[in-house]
Symmetry: C2
Subunit: 301 residues, 2 copies
């Protein structure tokens, strides 16, 4: 590939689909000279080497991150907080730290606790991409092409670090946008975390309200699509919901208030109000369809 090398040594902490795909994409495009991975499961790390996704690995964090130019925290949400503390304990000098997590506020809090403040060379990132699969064997070099990556820099963020993280994601095909940490967590609570909570809640309500077999026996395609996200990892989503608790609760409250109003309109037989809500929702959803059609298809949480 013609892209020029950006990074000498990239260290991925947690080698799953997200970290593995970034490593694979960066290596295939010649963006990085060496990729090192750290993790707990040696089998995954060995597989990463065999598949050519990483160059080498270590089970020892301090050994893995030695000489890193950029560290990508790609572990699950709660573990990512711990990784920040461990990196602070080890000391990583001028190394750039970034991540791929779905929530940002908890990592900012972890960084403040661990480092005293968010390090200038820490640039948090959230790639809005993924798939139902989660292991390194599912890693794809084109996973981020035409997908958005949200960065959440602050005024103290080192411009060079921000520029490198931006260029890295753009070089693997992503569209990079920036927003404040609070705004990120607020928008993602509404558009991603809330729908997952509702899907889990609906499916569980159905199987507890009704005889499970009977309910699903006559269910149609609408329910299948509506509840697909309830097949996501319970552990991953429990961690995301707890990491973004305040914003998620606020979204749930907003939704409950809306649904209660709609319920009242139905109880009162207020056809006009019901039609207004359904019509406004359909128009917004149709806009959303068009918006999605103009970007790439597969997105994730």
């Amino acid at each position: 590939m013609s892209t020029k090398q950006l990074i000498n040594r990239m260290v991925i902490l947690g080698l799953g689909l997200i970290g593995g795909s970034l490593a694979k994409a960066a290596k295939e495009r010649g963006l990085v000279a060496e990729v090192v991975a750290w993790g707990h499961r040696e089998a995954s790390l060995k597989l990463g080497v065999e598949l050519g996704i990483i160059d080498r690995y270590s089970l020892e964090l301090s050994e893995a991150v030695a000489g890193a130019d950029i560290i990508v925290i790609a572990t699950p949400t709660q573990i990512s907080e711990k990784m920040i503390h461990q990196l602070a304990d080890i000391g990583v000098g001028d190394c750039i730290i970034t991540d791929v997590a779905s929530v940002k506020g908890n990592l900012v809090a972890a960084a403040e606790a661990a480092f005293g403040r968010v390090p200038a060379r820490m640039v948090l990132a959230h790639p809005i991409a993924g798939s139902e699969k989660s292991s390194v064997t599912a890693a794809k070099a084109d996973l981020y092409e035409n997908h958005r990556v949200i960065l959440t820099p602050n005024e103290q963020t080192d411009p060079a670090a921000l520029s490198l993280v931006t260029t890295l994601w753009q070089a693997v095909g992503a569209e990079v946008v920036s927003m404040a940490v609070d705004e990120h967590d607020h928008v993602l609570a509404a558009t991603s975390h809330l729908p997952h909570v509702l899907a889990y809640s609906l499916v569980d309500a159905l199987v507890t309200m009704e005889d499970r077999r009977e309910v699903f026996r006559f269910a149609a395609g609408g329910l299948r699509d509506f509840t697909r996200i309830a097949s996501s990892s319970p552990q991953m989503w429990q961690e995301i919901v707890m990491a973004n608790r305040e914003a998620v609760l606020e979204s749930i409250e907003g939704f409950l208030s809306h649904l209660n109003t709609l319920k009242d309109h139905i109880a009162e037989g207020d056809d006009q109000q019901i039609m207004e809500i359904f019509t406004r929702a359909k128009a917004a959803r149709d806009d959303f369809t068009e918006m999605l059609a103009s970007t790439n298809a597969t997105r994730k949480p």
Copy 2:
């Protein structure tokens, strides 16, 4: 085709996707000698003749149903109630009356009001099949293949009428099941009407809570699938919700109660309860995926 003729004259009231597909399937399989359609929009009816879906049409109801062996009410939900009253006024003798609507209780009430009781030769039917399209040009002879059709006969239903309606749907490829009217409306409220209400409510809550563009700009595939059914016809769903109001309200109440409990667990940081709900929901949803995989793919409300 080798199937033998079941019906001499079938009259379809309302020639859209559902009625048109039944007409097309029945004609192509030689199940019916003649198909007549009635409706308000002459253009659709003409198209039906040109496409060979029906043999002839009338804009006059009494003319259309004259000499019918079976009348299929395939109009929107609220109009179907009116059709029952109009058929009672016209008088249809021994003709079998059936329908394709998503709610049954309101039609039973209409029949009781119009005829004094549900006529013995009225066999209400709900094919769980459809598509995003709704016009007669979308009619497909294989729409009902491997899809379920729910019949809601009672103890007074004429066995010959029940048998003919059952055989008709089976002959066009459907799996026919029976249940009580109340059970039908209750199960469909939970598995179809409630999810539509939630999808409309969520999308409308998002666009009113937030700046619409911002919210959807960072939305992922999860939200797209979760809200797809909010693109359904507002008019059709307003009618269904109102026709099945009691059962829909009960489903909404059940869901609200579940979501409030989950919200409390999140507010209290009760990881274990959250994991229990998410895990139970995922297991049920995975069962549902398997169940759907073992039947045909496309289903509707």
